[in-house]
Amino acid sequence: MPSTGSRQVLPLVGVLGAAVVVLAACGGAPPAPPAPAAPAAAPAAPDRTQMIDQAVAQYEDYVRQQVADTVAGTRVLTDAVRAGDLEAAKAAFAPSRVGWERIEPIAGLVEEIDGAVDARVDDFAGVEDPEFTGWHRIEYILWEQGQTAAAVPFADQLDADLQTLDQQIRTLRIPALDMARGSAELIEEVSQGKITGEEDRYSKTDLSDFQANIDGSVAVIGFLRPALQASRPAVLPAIDQGFADVDAGLASLRRPDGSFVPYCQENDEYPSPLCPAPTVTTQQVDTFKVQLAGLSEDVAMVPGVLGLQ
């Protein structure tokens, strides 16, 4: 694996504040003739730079904790696989992914890890492709093949790959721009992969990943909140409301024990072993779509609002 030490927090001086001016001009201003926009050269207030530095530091701690949780949670899954306990393995599958799904865009800073642990079968010639490894290979074996034995080598490899991630993440410096962008990428992840039910197609545990993606996005905004308050607080209410709306929708899909119902959409084929009947109405899915769409538009402004380029 290549060193990630070259990834540095981007210098922010001179960029901060520029977006604020332009954004303000967008509200009800008369049409301006198209012209290359020159970034305003307002000097950044040093305290805002410090706010972002602090947010990055907090986020780096958060990411390390999530990876540690992933390693531990996955160990529950892989131990069950090795012990031949199919039901325990299935029960551990969704929880094992929560930490990972919360920080997925950042894990992309570690080369090749995503392809090793979280690729879907669509990236390969077929389910028997030896390169198809990680959670979804195990998911396929547990649910589609109904066994654990064939999953043992993949469980061992998943543990090893996550150990590597854990090692690398300890020294990873996360650029502020990647952090800010990651918040939006997590929403895009949900919009493109979770809402369709393609991520966890064998186990139907998509809603757990969905929640984890949202949690990860909320966390980024939380750490950046002081900097956003100082830059353009007006972006925050819509973002906060958007997260609250999505969380409320997700809460309605939890069972009494807190776990999620399987993700069974109305246009799936029925009945199937995991989906005797739809659990999520088209209306609920459509509502998520528009809520996520609004969040995407709002969160996409965050890097620019903070002057991160």
């Binding site: 960029v15 520029a18 977006a19 001016v21 332009v22 954004l23 001009a25 967008c26 201003a29 049409p31 301006a32 003739p33 198209p34 012209a35 290359p36 926009a37 970034p39 305003a40 246009n267 459509d286 509502t287 779509k289 528009v290 809520q291 769409a293 609004g294 538009e297 996409a300 402004m301 890097p303 620019g304 609002v305 002057g307 991160l308 380029q309």
Partner: protein
């Protein structure tokens, strides 16, 4: 209202009375151009946005590219619905009037996709918005204001409607000369409304049906190879539009509907390979027109009128030929005229390896029952059904126009 006489456009008025009665022909019009003009060949222009009616319903020339996008509204309440319609109105106004995109700091996402460069060209772009019967359900307290004839499109003769490609709360129709203008407009509109509207189905296409001389692409042929739209209502004829297309203040309808129009979309799959294997004489008998010239059977020219009274037994034009059923040209059927504004589509192929092609039949009328439903009733069981099948679409109501700055689409509906 948009008008018409743009440079180079020579619109024929040969059809003022008699020929205008041909509006009922659903699939095939006919005709070879008898004038030497290049139909709709003038430079592209801007279609004005404001008007008593939505201008894109009658704007001329009829541009070649079209797109229909049907949305589900997730607006939680009437206030959010109004906000969406205001956003939609403002974006359509900006697109049609050529308002240049505002420039943002490059650190932010650009406000505009840039598909058409810094100054989107006019391109005869127009956008029409309609609403489906479902918008008048319990959600927004609009039930009492539903246009009297607006219902969810039922299965009609020979239909196999796919629910995923049918109906919707809000229908947006985009038309322009070029497909990139259409795509640009769609993306801008969706960006403004994606907090409340989610796509239900989309269909795009080309070669829009129109009366002779009204299209930018000559007399367009449909994908059965027949010229389509010869007998269409002439949309520049305001008196005809008032009589057949616009809901008027005195009609038995909620007051807000005045200036609106019932909008029917029928996604009509054509089994083109099967059709292409059919003898020419049989094709012409099924349609009722000569294929190449577009003339009614037994006549010489596209713009000739068929004389069914002289052919009571169907020796020249079979009694069940498409155009004869659609528009028998009798006094009793003179009320069932439609303004058609459809286009051809092609979207890959089906599981059997057959091309998935057809006609997005789009028509506007003052009354669904007097218009489309009357025509459809006469076509029920026609022999052409062997070659075509409705797979989607819906009944909608095109909102009245936006009369001026500050007004918004659906204003009279929501402010009643």
């Amino acid at each position: 209202m948009t008008s018409g006489d743009r440079g180079g456009l020579s619109r024929r008025r040969l059809f003022t009375t008699g020929a205008a009665l041909g509006g009922g022909a659903l699939l095939a019009g006919c005709a070879s151009s008898s004038s030497g003009s290049a139909p709709g060949g003038g430079p592209a222009d801007r279609v004005p946005f404001h008007g008593h009616t939505q201008t894109g319903i009658t704007s001329l020339p009829v541009p070649a590219s079209g797109l229909l996008a049907s949305f589900t509204s997730l607006a939680p309440d009437r206030g959010a619905l109004e906000e969406m319609l205001r956003e939609l109105t403002d974006e359509i106004d900006g697109l049609m009037s050529g308002r240049p995109p505002r420039v943002r700091d490059p650190a932010l996402p650009p406000e505009d996709s840039g598909l058409l460069g810094a100054e989107p060209p006019p391109d005869d772009l127009s956008i029409v918005v309609g609403v489906g019967a479902s918008l008048f359900d319990h959600r927004y307290g609009l039930a009492a204001l539903r246009p009297r004839e607006l219902v969810t499109m039922p299965f009609l003769a020979n239909d196999r409607l796919d629910p995923a490609r049918s109906h919707g709360d809000v229908l947006v129709s985009v038309q322009a000369r070029h497909p990139d203008t259409v795509v640009f407009a769609l993306r801008q509109l969706m960006r403004r409304t994606r907090r409340t509207l989610t796509l239900r189905w989309v269909l795009d296409g080309f070669g829009r049906g129109s009366a002779p001389g009204e299209s930018t692409t000559g007399s367009p042929r449909n994908l059965l190879g027949f010229i389509d739209g010869t007998a269409n209502l002439t949309s520049s004829n305001a008196a005809l539009m008032d009589r057949y297309v616009w809901v008027a203040a005195g009609d038995p309808e909620p007051a807000w509907t005045a200036g609106g129009s019932y909008l029917v979309v029928r996604v009509i799959r054509m089994f083109v390979e099967f059709w292409d294997r059919t003898p020419l004489a049989e094709q012409e008998a099924l349609i009722g027109r000569h294929k190449l010239s577009g003339a009614p059977l037994g006549r010489a020219s596209e713009i000739d009128e068929p004389d069914y009274r002289a052919d009571p037994d169907g020796r020249i034009t079979p009694l069940d030929a498409h155009i004869r059923l659609a528009n028998p040209r009798t006094p009793e059927t003179a009320g069932s005229l439609l303004l058609r504004r459809g286009f051809s589509y092609t979207r890959g192929f089906d599981g059997a390896g057959a091309l998935d092609q057809g006609l997005a039949f789009v028509c506007y009328q003052r009354s669904l029952e007097a218009g489309f439903l009357a025509v459809q009733g006469r076509l029920d069981g026609e022999p052409l059904e062997e070659y075509v099948m409705a797979e989607g679409g819906g009944f909608f109501f095109a909102l009245p126009g936006v009369r001026g700055p500050g007004d918004f689409l659906g204003q009279d509906l929501l402010r009643t």
